[in-house]
């Protein structure tokens, strides 16, 4: 068999870059920022950077849970409804029990998210209902229950202690506290997924479920853990949503599940599982957010902005599919020794 001839160094360098999703995302991000700043210098002002980071933080947080789930070839559509319920619940605690410590509220919110994620996990693992259907169902069930419970009420910033609200407003070393929390979790989950046996199992399951069983991995337990984590992270996102916006009604978070999935996939987590990192997914969220700011700064009519975001997703997926197809074809021809 013939050895593949080494390409000239330039092409190889390019391939290494393209193969590292994080690096190509960063390059794209830099290009976007440069172009937009050139056209409108206000884009890089301290205030607009802060706004950008605040906008992206909660989405980026949710991409962590979503990445873990998608890595296993599953999906969690219900997160936006979990965010909605837990955001209103956190506010209700402050209304009914003024003076509850911030940590307790966040803890309760995460616990509630964990329970809702547990319902997803039970239906998927024991009920053997595909995740797409299960979480589509619970997306509506959780939201519907939320409407019934909220019953037209609203939480106002005036009901929330300022220490809690400061999570969403104050800045440490130029970066919002909210963003620091997300960065911390990103580091934690990056290390867990890369450096620990349990983390590698998520990749193994998504890469080849049969091989995972043969390797003695408890696939059911791992899948359940993924949905529990996704629920818990959505619970945390709910509490942070309250801190960020102060005002919460029954519609909080509606529709963000699709933004999260888009960001995750653009960030290089393959929808077919087994490939991607939480850092990439978070960069995907940042890229999508910068992209939409760019569209605003460039005065693209608002009804076109969504179309551009959708196009971005399709370009990312099409590029992945193209690369995978080319790779497969090359291998098939390379092996044609018969």
């Amino acid at each position: 068999m013939m050895k593949e001839t080494t390409d000239n160094s330039g092409a190889q360098w390019l391939r290494v870059l393209l193969n590292s999703r994080e690096i190509s995302l960063l390059i794209l991000l830099a290009a976007l920022v440069l172009i937009t700043t050139a056209l409108n210098p206000r884009f890089l002002s301290a205030q607009s950077i802060k706004d950008l980071l605040l906008n992206v933080s909660i989405i980026a947080l949710l991409t962590i849970g979503q990445s873990i789930v998608i890595l296993m070839r599953q999906i969690d559509l219900s997160i936006s409804s979990i965010v909605g319920i837990t955001a209103f619940m956190s506010g209700t605690i402050f209304v009914n029990h003024p003076g509850t410590p911030t940590v307790v509220v966040i803890g309760v919110s995460m616990l509630a998210g964990l329970l809702l994620g547990g319902l997803n996990a039970a239906l998927i693992v024991w009920g053997r209902i595909p995740a797409l259907i299960t979480t589509l169902g619970t997306l509506y069930i959780f939201r519907g229950a939320n409407y019934a419970w909220v019953h037209g009420r609203q939480i106002n910033a005036a009901d929330i202690p300022s220490t809690f609200l400061s999570i969403g407003t104050s800045v440490f070393l130029g970066i919002p506290i909210l963003t620091w929390i997300v960065l911390l979790l990103l580091v934690f989950f990056s290390i867990s997924l890369r450096q620990y046996r349990g983390g590698r199992e998520y990749y193994a399951i998504g890469s080849n479920p049969n091989a995972a069983i043969l390797a003695g991995i408890n696939v059911n337990r791992r899948v359940a853990t993924g949905f529990l984590l996704s629920g818990m992270i959505a619970g945390l996102a709910g509490a942070l949503w309250l801190a960020r916006f102060g005002t919460v009604d029954a519609t909080a978070g509606t529709g963000i599940e699709l933004q999260v999935i888009t960001s995750t996939v653009v960030g290089g987590v393959a929808i077919t599982g087994g490939v991607g990192t939480v850092a990439g997914a978070a960069l995907g969220a940042l890229l999508m957010s910068v992209f939409s700011s760019t569209l605003v700064f460039l005065r693209v009519p608002s009804f076109w902005q969504q179309a551009f975001q959708g196009a971005m997703l399709l370009v990312a997926i099409a590029l992945d599919a193209y690369m995978a197809h080319r790779h497969a074809e090359r291998l098939r021809v390379k092996r044609s020794h018969v």
Partner: protein
Amino acid sequence: MNTPTIELLDIHKSFGATPVLEGVSLQLFPGEVHSLMGENGAGKSTLVKIMAGLHQPDKGVLRIEGREAAFHSTAQAQHAGVAVIYQEPTLFPDLSIAENIFMGRQPTLRWRRIDYAAMNRAVSQQLSQLGVSLRPEDPVLGLSIADQQIVEIIKALTFDARVLIMDEPTAALSAEEVRRLFQVVARLRSKGVALMFVSHRLEEVFEISQRITVMRDGRVVSSAPAVEFTPDDVVRKMVGRSLDALYPKEDVEPGEVVLSVRNLRRAGVFKDISFDVRRGEIVGLAGLVGAGRSEVARAIFGIDRLDGGEVSIGGRSLSRHNPDAAMEAGIGFVPEDRQQQGLVMELSVLRNATLTVLGRLKRFGLVSQAQEKSVAAEWTSRMRLKGHIEEPVNILSGGNQQKVVLAKWLATQPKFLIVDEPTRGIDVGAKSEVHRTLSQLAKAGMGILMISSDMPEVIGMADRVLVMHEGKLTAELSRSEATEEAIMFAAAGQTASKS
């Protein structure tokens, strides 16, 4: 004699009502390569899966180094030191070679962090010991089957496997890769590993085995040191059964050429495929699983892309290669896997039978119910299909399902029909109905290409037998030349030494 590393005693196994293993006993000794041979369906794979812990025997004893053992999972088998390498390795394509080998038991550092450096080093060492130039950090995606097997072998070695079973490991390998695999096998032998080698390739079996066991129809027919066999013995023992006269192929004078294929080629799958099928003729396409028979059929019907070659029907070359064009030209295709490729299980017999001809039944853009019914009724009654045509097909038996698939294609009135394993998994009664129908169709002037792994079926039904081996046609045998021995030799890639 020393104790066998693994010993099977009187193993029985049935799937449903079908017995697959009927009292099989087998012993593997340390430092010995034991080859297991038999036709497709002799029960080899089931035996392997029992040793791997994937299936549990209904009856019988399994001993590891003299101690009785029972495997309820693959993990237990692995723990007992039994490693199995399948023809198509099951690996994680997106993960690195080293991770594939150490999944679930990675070496760790402080705080139980994975020690990637140690892991890569260990794999690197094994790779160089086996003389393989792969890098432990590279992803498995893109490795050849041969290299994937090396990954599996290293996995087995790091488990300290005492028994290594290889299920047709060479089926997808080039000569060079086989040579490398055998070097690895020799090294394992010298370490005292007991090896089992399941293969159809006689030459290789005689090259590396110390002991040979031949299975047929779920039983061991012969087991002895390799030196006591000749290749001819083995083949005779593999096939050795009488041909029953169940096959009602009527003699038909073949007419003009209906299908002609020239130099079909699909890179990595098959090449240089040229043959003709005449009107009234049933041409058998024999070969081992993986020889590329179904792939050729799929390419003729336009499902898989061709890299070169020409398909013509009735002298006219097909310009487009897709199932639509093939059907239009008069090709019918009954695929191997009825449930997945041939039938819509939830729909009624009627709907399934007319699925292929809806275009013809259309009037003013709508399907005429009455006409749909009459077409379905005609073909299902000609097939002697039991049951009502409004019933969903998933409640029918395998044999009746196959008849529905046939009816569906016959309704298109093809000039040429491809049937892939037409009687696999159906009972004897339905089998002879299918055979009778095929025979009638040929008599009525259809050309038929029949892919089959069922030797008596091929010999009984086919006017002419083509044999494939590793993507190439290796023999064309007339009805009188087509003996089981001759077909097996050609299928195993040997030049026939006719007796």
